[in-house]
Symmetry: C2
Subunit: 112 residues, 2 copies
DNA sequence: CGGAAGGTACGACAGCTGTCAAACTTCGAC
DNA sequence: GTCGAAGTTTGACAGCTGTCGTACCTTCCG
């Protein structure tokens, strides 16, 4: 499902409507430390970041996987800028759908 | 670690100090819908509940497992009252360690 | 054009974990 | 004492998912 029309190589990823996302999906996304790290960086930066600028202790393909999960969970929006992919936190929308949740999570200090 | 002194069959489970618990552990506990359901019931009830009074769509052994995970994550406190086991949400302590988190999670409506 | 940079897609694989049944333990009631 | 109720323990198993390498695709730049 969520098949975007095939009109070539499909460089525009599909983003779910946030209202279709369950708390379950959000928690599954955020339970992974690497994904939480990504969201934390976006949250702290308060702006969009290219995949490349967020350095992660995993391979490129794994990173792609994590971004995909975050996108499917409605947490980020992705689009291309040249060869690099930009990531934007969907803060306002997410706040509407899950009031207070992102903030409560981000405010927690993580033990390093 | 966290070995309670062995003085018989050990009916008193050990409870971790909440300060030793990581956000990771909490999220891992709360990502499971059944465990979230347990916590929700305790949160709504605002009092302790016996395992038996929380009916869950899983076998007894699986239920035991879930309670165990919640206990290890510092979310509940357990003790025996006769043959039944009581469960209490560790609300205040948890609030101190993870301010705003439990509430933010519990306030979210879950799609049934 | 040709190459390099930045990502994606696809298998494959290992480890985790939620699940159950069966056997056992403890406590209360009769 | 014996029986049942309530949970626990153990072992087994299946499914999920985070991980990687490799091959591939776009886009930019010289």
């Amino acid at each position: 499902m969520a098949v975007a029309r095939r009109s070539g190589p499909e460089r525009v990823p599909s983003h779910p409507d946030i209202r279709e996302i369950s708390l379950q999906q959000v928690l599954e996304a955020l339970v992974d430390p690497i994904r939480r790290r990504i969201v934390r960086e976006l949250y702290a930066a308060r702006r969009e970041l290219a995949c490349g600028t967020i350095d992660l202790p995993v391979s490129k393909s794994t990173a792609t996987h994590h971004f995909h999960v975050l996108r499917e969970a409605g947490l980020i929006r992705q689009y291309y800028a040249g060869t690099s992919r930009m990531n934007a936190l969907r803060s306002e929308e997410f706040e509407q759908a899950f009031p207070g949740l992102l903030r409560a999570l981000m405010e927690q200090r993580e033990r390093e």
